[in-house]
């Protein structure tokens, strides 16, 4: 399929906005945010939301944003509810990406996401790069550029439609794309009319698989309304529990970011695969939200939700 190159948006100099709460954990998002901003030819914006007024230079000093690399970075300080402030800041049409850590100062024991991150993830309409702080995703490791992005798909058209902004961002990053199709044993094939399925019949694998891979890419383009960037997007197939397989293949392919589509509001019992990968994924997650209905589903089976999240 021939299409014009993807763009993040019309912004000549898009903003990569990193949201901080003053904690060292949150600050680990800074290097990767800076790297992404450089990579897409955009600019870094730092948003600090605090409970009380504090000056931007003080915050910059507190965050260690000193020295020639950091002095030119605008630091915006806002007072109020961090979720509302951060979400409002992402309404700026120039914001191409929000970067934040899975948690900042506090995280409830047993939770995978901090409360702020969870609420933002559940509501944000912009792509979010969600970085896990701590040694498992150390500062040096995540400061590298994003050169390979993996998009796990389950064939759902709703999921595929949500990927337009990610593909646009990937195009701007110049990243190569791996598409991973996961087959979960025991799960029925999707019956969606616009969905993508594995071929039921593989008459001759030497013909069927290459053509299927091509069709997956084309189908993703058609649903997302964006071409898949990169010269050779590759399509992989894995069989097994979705989050395990995604983590396994992502690690094996040494991907720099894993695209996850949020198709629920992450109420209890929903978003199993997504939350699992945020916790145990081998790399930062690039989240996008599917267009959810206003009335949130309440009785959807967990399995279906989990699959869509993958």
């Amino acid at each position: 399929m021939s299409r014009s190159p993807a763009r993040v948006d019309d912004a000549a100099c898009p903003i990569v906005l990193v949201a901080l709460d003053g904690s060292p954990a949150a600050a680990t998002a800074l290097p990767i945010a800076a790297a992404v901003a450089r990579q897409i030819g955009g600019r870094l914006g730092v948003l600090h939301v605090a409970a009380r007024a504090v000056s931007a230079p003080d915050i910059a000093r507190a965050l260690g944003l000193t020295g020639p690399d950091w002095e030119s970075i605008p630091v915006r300080v806002e007072v109020g509810d961090p979720v509302e402030r951060i979400l409002r800041a992402t309404e700026d049409p120039d914001v191409a990406l929000l970067v934040l850590t899975t948690h900042g100062r506090e995280i409830t024991s047993g939770e995978r996401l901090g409360s702020v991150a969870r609420r933002i993830v559940a509501r944000a309409m912009r792509p979010i790069l969600l970085v896990r702080p701590g040694p498992a995703a150390g500062k040096e490791a995540i400061a590298a550029e994003i050169r390979r992005i993996m998009i796990p798909v389950d064939g759902s058209e709703v999921t595929l439609r949500a990927l337009g902004p990610v593909l646009a961002l990937a195009g701007r990053l110049g990243a190569e794309i791996d598409i991973l199709y996961v087959v979960e044993p025991g799960r029925a094939p999707r019956r969606e009319r616009g969905g993508m399925t594995l071929p039921r019949y593989v008459d001759q694998p030497q013909h069927e698989w290459p053509e299927w891979a091509r069709e997956v890419v084309d189908h993703l383009c058609a649903c997302a309304g964006q071409c898949v960037p990169g010269r050779h997007p590759r399509v992989f197939l894995a069989r097994g529990e979705a989050s395990d397989q995604i983590a396994r293949v992502a690690a094996a392919r040494q991907v720099d970011a894993l695209v996850l589509v949020r198709s629920s509001r992450l109420e209890p019992g929903h978003g199993r695969v997504l939350l699992s990968l945020l916790t145990s994924g081998p790399c930062p997650a690039l989240l996008v939200g599917a267009n959810l209905p206003v009335a949130e589903p309440t009785a959807a089976p967990e399995r279906a939700e989990a699959a869509a999240d993958a």
Binding site: P185, T197, L198, Q204, H207, W209, E211
Partner: protein, 1098 residues
């Protein structure tokens, strides 16, 4: 689909309020209009639509007068030179703000009609005035002010000579005014633009030009000797009065009548000097318009709407009633009966490739996927030409069908704006595959940005009569008058084709490596009513028409392209063939082209339709299958065969597999023998290559390739990188040798069904003998006293490198036996030919005797408890309960992984079951039953070939429910979106398999030496099954009904034949109708009655 509105007054509702509309609701004899901002948005705009409208109005004797401030060159570049020369006589161009008038002579040559010449004193005075204004502003404000000197009879004082305001569009006049005012006031010029104008007037009087015309376009103050009012005065005196055109028959259009910056707009002088004329403004007019001016707004687009409405009004005023469409346009209406059509009511990008595959039109030579008439980014438009193979320049690359140039490209433009499907308003796009007539119809309707609705109905087909011809018909209808443009072209070819020759008549391309040619000779016509419009203009290979479309007059595009393929040594012939075919198409005309195509399809359906009553899905699936089977064949070409996806997609590269002989050909053998014969002749012509292949591998005879393209060489890709990232060697090219027996099987089946002795003598026998010779050399004698065939792949490709695959061994034995049978037949009936063949093939009696020994002692496979072992050791493999994997979203080898699959009893597709289907009589009933019951639950159906074969065998065994399940599975392969396969092309073997499941399975038809036998088992829901089959030139109609199960056979054509139903036999004479039914507790068949008259079929 809803028709666009066609009532003329509907247009007016969308425009200005009622009172104003009334003034415009009549034709005007002259239209005086401003240029910049009224006729065009800027000087770079392509004014194609305006030219089209002007041509139409001039042709209707309307006078057009351009009144502009700029010079003639600018108008000519965008407009005058494109107006048809023969029409220009009624065009006047008043330039340089009323200082010049140009007209044209009868030949369209430019003539200067009038010019106001300034005296040297006036000229110097103008300069002095401009410079005095500039100096005054400079002195007071220090602002930079520019002067444009080189204008005829005027000077322009530039109040904002800044780069960002160098060429402001008219649409930004409000912003421009604000910028100018701000600039002046910020510098202390508090009176703004108005004060500059007053100053200019004062200075003009002071410098001796009290009558100087002072105007402003906001950026400039212009001081000159004339203005647009002078132009109008000249027009009144020299055009309107001599022509007797009263001012109320004049329409004046501009965009700047209202005051700007305190002074009248530059077009207001048009109004002042044309009292009584209808005056309209299409400009933004931020400060309103003077009394008497109808403010329409909308800019040049609205002005063109006005012109288009004028065209329509004049046509009606002149009594130019719409012409009725040509009668053949009725073909755009699809067949009504649901069982004869496949519908796709919407355009959904996500499923577009699937729709394209299903909706392909083809004729065995040319295949055209069912893409949108105007493809989007989600489309994969594709025209394939059978046999047009090329091999890419890549390591281990194999030949592939090369996409032919796309002959269907078109662009529809409404008022200068291309119609785009993506992002369209109120898009409706329905496609219908008319199975009965073999054509694709579409009905596309959308609104453009201006609110106009356009409807495009189309059809396309690949001619069943003259296979070189592909035809597109397209009817365009609008709901408002509008300038329309239609461009059609052949898209630049795929990178595997190089352009070899391009003339107005024909274009020839050559494949890069194989040197094959494809020639295309298009013939395009646009029909207005029943008459073709003037030929299109051609530019860079694009044919274009421009016209003013009106709601009451649809136009119809007819595009025919003749496509011919040629070989390497054949550079000229394809072009000649294409040109000749195009000439024949042109001579025949659209009506005959259509009628002959429809008639050809009717004949095919007459010979080969299958009617199923009581199962809508089965009936629809069957018709779909037969449509594609008919579309795939070309009885006239023995050099190509039918690829795994026919001509419906690029997948499988056009390669030919056993699919053709085993799954597809039976339909042709029994309904269209010429098509079967051509495909078998393809194998005959590639026999020398098959011999070489056998020799290369150390065998004798002929080994047909697992995958074959144009030459008959083995072209199976040697490996694949599967989606798990593993490199999987593909061994089918060397080990899946059963195809050799499969070809022989088809040859024999064809001979048995047709009695085509000529084919047998000149091609078929040689194939049978050489394939038998291969098997005799392929086997190995072992100490157990049997010949064995080791290291092969059977139809079940999950298990490779197996020994004694039952399918391969038994088919090989059958091949040897059949070769001996044909040898005996020829020796007895055609001894001379037999002698020739023996000599040519160097066949000795000893070799024939050896074949007999091999056939008799070829290991047939173990049979345990009536179950044939699929291959040696199969019974020892891991049993897998496939039900444990349900529901399942992937083939079993994906679920288990290839290694475990290989170690298991999971079967990819019918293997032993396939053997039962092909050689039913060879096995006793208990073996058939036991083997089917054993393998059916072990089969994962990882191939589209599998369900139909299971349906056939289950039906023959009387398990009609299971058979019906598999029939529906077969239908779903292409028609159910959840299968994940349809996007890549139609599974033509599954379609052939479906016919076999129904005719050979449910009807239980089998070949007999004397005729045909039937043993029907119908599903309970099927009220009736009807079809026709051929045998030795006869045509037999078969009608099977339920309650009681009744078979009625009617011999429509040919001499008598023996028929058998159950244990009844009967010699059926020409025209005779014989009926029998199953009766009584023993279920035996009883003759009902027969009548020696032809009964009409239901």
């Amino acid at each position: 689909m809803e028709q666009p509105r066609s009532h003329p007054e509907a247009t007016e509702d969308a425009g200005s309020p009622g009172a104003e509309r009334a003034a415009l609701r009549r034709p005007f004899r002259a239209i005086i209009f401003d240029w910049d901002g009224t006729a065009v948005a800027d000087r770079r705009e392509h004014a194609d639509a305006l030219v089209t409208l002007a041509d139409a109005l001039l042709a209707l004797d309307v006078w057009l007068v351009v009144v502009t401030g700029t010079h003639y060159g600018n108008i000519d570049r965008q407009f005058c030179r494109f107006v048809k020369p023969e029409l220009r006589q009624r065009l006047l161009v008043c330039t340089n703000r009323g200082s010049e008038v140009f007209g044209f002579d009868a030949a369209g040559r430019l003539e200067a009609r009038w010019q106001r010449t300034a005296t040297p004193e006036e000229d110097r005075a103008l300069t002095r005035i401009a410079e005095a204004v500039r100096d005054a502003i400079r002195q007071r404000t220090g602002l930079e002010v520019g002067i444009v000197y080189d204008r005829l009879n005027r000077r322009k004082i530039d109040l904002i000579p800044l780069p960002e305001w160098a060429d402001p569009p008219k649409a930004q006049i409000g912003a421009l005014l604000a910028a100018v005012e701000a600039r002046l006031r910020a510098a202390g010029w508090t009176g703004g633009l108005a004060e500059v104008i007053h100053l200019t007037a004062d200075l003009a009087a002071a410098h001796g030009l009290p009558d100087a015309r002072i105007t402003s376009d906001v950026k400039h103050i212009e001081v000159g000797l004339t203005d647009k009012g002078d132009a109008v005065n000249w027009i009144r005196a020299h055009l309107l009065e001599p022509q007797g055109i009263p001012l109320h028959d004049v329409l004046v259009a501009g965009d700047e009548f209202g005051p700007i910056g305190g002074v009248s707009g530059s077009d207001d002088r048009l109004r002042e000097e044309a009292p009584g004329a209808v005056v309209v403004s299409v400009g933004a007019e931020p400060n309103g318009v003077p009394p008497g001016v109808l403010h329409l707004g909308g800019g040049p687009a609205r002005f063109r709407e006005l012109l288009a409405e004028q065209v329509w009004r004049w046509r009606r005023a002149r009594g130019l009633t719409p012409q009725p469409p040509p009668p053949w346009v009725a073909a755009l209406s699809p067949v009504a009966e649901p069982a004869w059509r496949l519908d796709e009511p919407t355009y959904l990008p996500a499923i577009e490739h699937r729709v394209e595959s299903r909706f392909t039109v083809a004729n065995g030579l040319v295949g055209v996927r069912g893409s949108l008439d105007q493809p989007t980014a989600a489309s994969r438009p594709l025209t394939l030409v059978a046999g047009l193979f090329d091999t890419p320049n890549a390591p281990l690359a194999v030949p592939a069908l090369v996409p032919a140039p796309d002959w269907l490209r078109l662009r529809i433009t409404l008022d200068g704006q291309p119609l785009e499907i993506e992002g369209a308003n109120d898009l409706r796009y329905a496609r219908t595959l008319d199975l009965r007539r073999g054509m694709l119809l579409s009905d596309w309707c959308q609104r453009d940005a201006a609110g106009r609705t356009v409807r495009v109905r189309s059809l396309r087909f690949a001619s069943q009569v003259e296979r070189t011809l592909a035809v597109q018909m397209l009817q365009l209808t609008v709901d408002r008058p509008v300038a329309m443009r239609l461009e059609v072209w052949i898209e630049a070819p795929h990178d595997r084709l190089v352009l070899e020759r391009a003339t107005p008549d024909v274009t020839v391309w050559r494949t890069v490596n194989t040197g094959r040619r494809v020639a295309m000779a298009p013939f395009v016509q646009l029909w207005l009513g029943s008459d073709p419009m003037a030929p299109p203009t051609f530019r860079d290979g694009v044919a274009a028409w421009s016209w003013v479309a009106t709601p009451d007059q649809p136009v119809t595009l007819l595009r025919t392209v003749a496509i011919a393929r040629g070989e390497r040594a054949d550079p000229v012939v394809p072009a000649r063939r294409a040109i000749a075919a195009r000439a024949r198409a042109r001579d025949a005309g659209p009506e005959e082209l259509l009628a002959r195509h429809v008639q050809a399809w009717a004949e095919r359906w007459e010979e080969g339709d299958v009617q199923i009553e009581g199962d809508e899905m089965a009936q629809r699936g069957m018709r779909y299958a037969l449509y594609h089977l008919i579309s795939a064949a070309n009885p006239a070409d023995e050099r190509v065969s039918i690829g795994a996806r026919a001509l419906t997609g690029e997948a499988y590269l056009g390669h030919v597999f056993w699919d053709t002989e085993i799954f597809v050909l039976p339909y042709y053998i029994f309904t269209w023998p010429a098509a079967a014969r051509a495909a078998l002749m393809y194998r005959y012509h590639t026999l020398p290559v098959a011999r070489a292949r056998a020799q290369q591998l150390g065998y004798r005879g002929a080994l047909f390739p697992w995958e074959s393209a144009d030459t008959g060489e083995e072209v199976t890709p040697p490996f694949v990188v599967n989606p798990t990232g593993r490199v999987i060697p593909i061994l089918s090219g060397t080990l899946e040798q059963h195809i050799t027996a499969d070809v022989a099987y088809a040859v024999w089946q064809y001979w048995q069904a047709t009695g085509d002795l000529h084919f047998l003598l000149n091609a078929g026998a040689e194939i049978l003998l050489d394939t038998a010779r291969f098997w005799a050399s392929r086997v190995t004698w072992e100490e157990d006293g049997y010949y064995h065939i080791r290291n092969v792949i059977g139809p079940d490709e999950y298990h490779d490198g197996v020994d004694d695959n039952a399918f391969t061994n038994v088919m090989a034995a059958w091949n040897l036996e059949t070769a001996l049978e044909v040898a005996a037949l020829l020796a007895q009936r055609r001894p001379a030919r037999w002698a020739e063949l023996r000599q040519a093939l160097d066949l000795s009696d000893a070799e024939l005797a050896h074949w007999r020994t091999v056939a008799a002692r070829l290991f047939p496979g173990r049979i345990v408890d009536g179950v044939i072992e699929q291959f040696a050791g199969f019974f020892d493999l891991e049993p897998i309960d496939l039900r444990a994997f349900e529901p399942r979203a992937a083939p079993m080898d994906v679920m288990l992984g290839p290694e475990r699959t290989r170690r298991s009893q999971v079967v990819k597709q019918a293997d032993v079951v396939m053997l039962l289907a092909l050689l039913w009589e060879r096995f006793p009933p208990h073996v058939r039953e036991a083997s089917f019951r054993y393998y059916e639950p072990r089969t994962g159906h990882g191939s589209s070939l599998s369900p139909a074969t299971h349906a056939l065998v289950a039906a023959r065994l009387g398990d009609v429910d299971l058979a019906l399940h598999y029939v529906h599975e077969t239908i779903a392969i292409d028609l159910d979106d959840a299968m994940g396969n349809a996007a890549l092309g139609v599974h033509i073997a599954a379609q052939g398999g479906l016919w076999q499941a129904v005719v050979l399975g449910f009807a239980g038809m089998r070949l007999r030496p004397f005729g045909l036998a039937f043993d029907p088992h119908l599903p309970a829901t099927w009220r009736a099954l009807r079809f026709s089959v051929g045998w030795h030139g006869r045509r037999l109609d078969v009608d099977i009904t339920q309650d009681p199960l009744t078979v009625t056979l009617t011999l429509r054509r040919g001499r008598s034949l023996m028929v058998e139903v159950g244990d009844l036999t009967h010699r059926l004479s020409h025209g005779e109708c014989w009926t029998c039914h199953r009766d009584g507790p023993d279920g035996r068949w009883k003759e009902s009655h027969y009548e020696p008259v032809t009964r009409a079929r239901g």
